[in-house]
């Protein structure tokens, strides 16, 4: 059974799912029920070195760069409204292929045009991140963001990171103002 994490919670993926090699990181949110501009949430992944920065812009996986050069991280595409069942955006990670100098992969969600649309995470219903074992599609862990989010427009939902030779996941729930741009600066992307 999947473990539900609270903000700051962490667990060892290898212990929860021995033999784990490929994971799907699913992100979801409710489509807007009221009138007005849709909530377009974008999931991104940042492959980070020991210094917490990307090695190059190629380590930023997002809607305009769906796959890392090493092929270990792949974004399956953009959902513009959050409509439909299940995960709205999925990022695949082949843990064994992740380059050795990548210590951490941060999964972020940003609200597209948040400022123009005057939107923030407090208005988005039922946002979550979950980590699924690609082998058998069983959910390993899940973090429901709803109550940790408020007026931010960019959030680090969670991180996969190496620790003592295994992969762990932590539910971060850290928000920023300033959207994707602020997130990129945080991780050393030049835009």
């Amino acid at each position: 059974m999947a473990i539900s994490l609270n903000k700051g919670g962490r667990l060892s993926l290898n212990k929860e799912a021995p033999g784990l090699s490929k994971v799907l990181v699913g992100l979801g949110w409710d489509a807007r029920a009221t009138d007005g501009a849709d909530f377009d949430l974008d999931a991104s992944a940042f492959m980070l070195g020991a210094d917490g920065k990307v090695r190059s812009d190629a380590d930023f996986i997002f809607y305009n760069q769906l796959k890392s050069s090493c092929g270990s991280v792949e974004h399956t595409g953009d959902n513009l409204t959050g409509a439909g069942e299940g995960d709205d955006e999925v990022i695949k990670v082949d843990l064994n292929k992740v380059p050795a100098d990548v210590q951490k992969i941060a999964f972020t969600v940003t609200i597209h045009e948040a400022d123009q649309r005057k939107q923030n995470f407090g208005q988005v219903g039922n946002a979550y991140i979950r980590v699924v074992n690609a082998d058998g599609n069983s959910e390993i862990t899940r973090y429901d963001l709803a109550e940790d989010a408020s007026t931010e427009t960019a959030m680090i939902f969670g991180e996969l990171y190496r620790h003592s030779g295994e992969w762990r996941f932590t539910a971060v729930g850290q928000g920023y103002a300033g959207g994707l741009k602020a997130m990129c600066h945080q991780y050393g992307i030049n835009i």
């Binding site: 009221t34 009138d35 007005g36 995470f121 407090g122 109550e147 408020s150 007026t151």
Partner: protein, 413 residues
């Protein structure tokens, strides 16, 4: 604490934790021509109402059990957490513009909507939510929501809504709404013969589930009437409101010419079933009584014009069987009558009945009295008829409706 849209705070964690909170709604400009209505939806874990009883609005002021109470004027809701039925996990507070879409109105015509959440006990303000509404095309606005999260009551500022108004808003939460506004209200069911002891053998489920009517019924023409159907437990209190333009006439010119200063008095003539008749009005301090005959009371005189809500007459609905008929009137006590300028409107509200609205039209500025509406006891039901007939004074009005003469004659007996 000032909330932004999307922001939430914990009510339970506030010290001391309030047992009940009020949410007070206001807007700018306060004298907007928009007709704003407030409502609350009590929702289960699936964010739906359990039944139409969970929709609190101008025709239904209280959630069964008393957990949510809407003020008569719609400006405040009081939520008493301990009185909420089990299974209610969310309460959405909304503001809507009456006929906004039809009239081409929207919240964009306001500059701000403001909600204040207070401890109902000590009135301490817990949080305020000022929402800038400029350029908002919506005619229904979800102001905010109270919700239960891990055993804790919280409030979230929302500030989103629907262009289509109360209809789509109500549908979103599973309220069955009558979507045909022009459909005339159903004629009253076979009239219940006057008072019966409440031998409630008839199951409450016997009545077919009727969709809730959102529209207010406007009595357009003189003489048009509608019957308020008597429920098994009788009527709840009827609230008759007279409101008029107190905002200084029509714009700058109106103010320059001293317009908008007309003060209206609300009153009524009544006749009881036992033949007694009289008047309830500010003149002569005949304010009446709800508990004793005539079971009609004038709730204070708004001579100041300070109250934006106008004047109120209450009728004790449980004593309706004691009443034969009531003619409600408006009087211009001071100054030259200028009815057109007052732009007066009468509403009659009673819980679980459609709200009736009557506008004062066909103005006669040579007369200072206007008979607004007649309420008649018709086999226990309340027949409401639009009058809007103008008279020089009480005497002529009495004569016209047959109160005064009988009243005078009766007193000689």
């Amino acid at each position: 604490m000032e909330l932004q849209p999307g922001q939430n705070f914990s009510i339970t964690k506030h010290s001391p934790a309030p047992a009940a909170v009020t949410i007070a709604l206001s807007w700018e400009p306060a004298n907007t021509p928009l007709t704003l209505d407030s409502s609350a939806f009590a929702l289960n874990a699936q964010s739906k109402v359990r039944s139409d009883d969970d929709f609190i609005f101008y025709n239904q002021l209280t959630l069964p059990g008393g957990g949510i109470q809407r003020a008569e004027d719609g400006r405040t809701f009081t939520v008493t957490f301990a009185k909420l039925p089990a299974g209610i996990e969310r309460m959405v507070i909304a503001l809507t513009i009456d006929q906004g879409q039809q009239r081409g109105q929207s919240f964009g015509q306001l500059t701000q909507v403001r909600a204040e959440i207070r401890d109902a006990g000590n009135q301490a303000t817990l949080a305020a939510f000022p929402l800038t509404t400029r350029a908002m095309p919506e005619t229904a606005l979800i102001v905010g929501e109270f919700y239960l999260r891990n055993g804790e009551w919280k409030f979230r500022a929302v500030g989103q809504g629907f262009v289509g108004g109360l209809g789509p808003l109500a549908k979103q939460y599973g309220v069955d709404v009558a979507d045909d506004a022009e459909a005339a209200p159903a004629p009253p069911a076979p009239p219940a013969p006057a008072p019966r002891p409440a031998a409630s053998s008839s199951a409450p489920s016997a009545a077919p589930v009727k969709p809730i009517r959102l529209e207010k019924i406007t009595l357009e023409k003189k003489g048009s009437s509608i019957s308020l159907e008597k429920k098994s437990h009788g009527f709840d209190d009827l609230v008759i409101n007279l409101n008029w333009n107190q905002g200084g006439g029509k714009g700058f010119f109106g103010r320059l010419t001293g317009g908008g200063k007309t003060d209206l008095d609300l009153g009524c003539l009544f006749k009881l079933r036992d033949g007694r008749a009289g008047a309830v009005q500010a003149l002569g301090n005949s304010f009446g009584s709800l508990q004793n005959p005539p079971y009609i009371q004038l709730m204070g005189d708004d001579r100041s014009g300070q109250s934006a809500q106008g004047e109120f007459l209450h009728i004790n609905g449980r004593q309706w069987d004691q009443l034969d008929r009531v003619v409600v009137f408006a009087l211009i006590y001071e100054g030259a009558p200028n009815w057109a300028e007052t732009d007066a409107v009468v509403t009659i509200q009673t819980p679980n009945q459609p709200t009736l609205e009557i506008r004062l039209d066909s103005h006669r500025n040579d007369q200072r009295m206007c008979a607004l509406v007649m309420l008649e006891n018709e086999r226990g039901n309340i027949k409401v008829t639009k009058l809007v007939e103008y008279f020089l004074d009480h005497r002529f009005l009495d004569q016209a409706y047959g109160f005064g003469l009988r009243w005078v004659a009766g007193s000689k007996d």
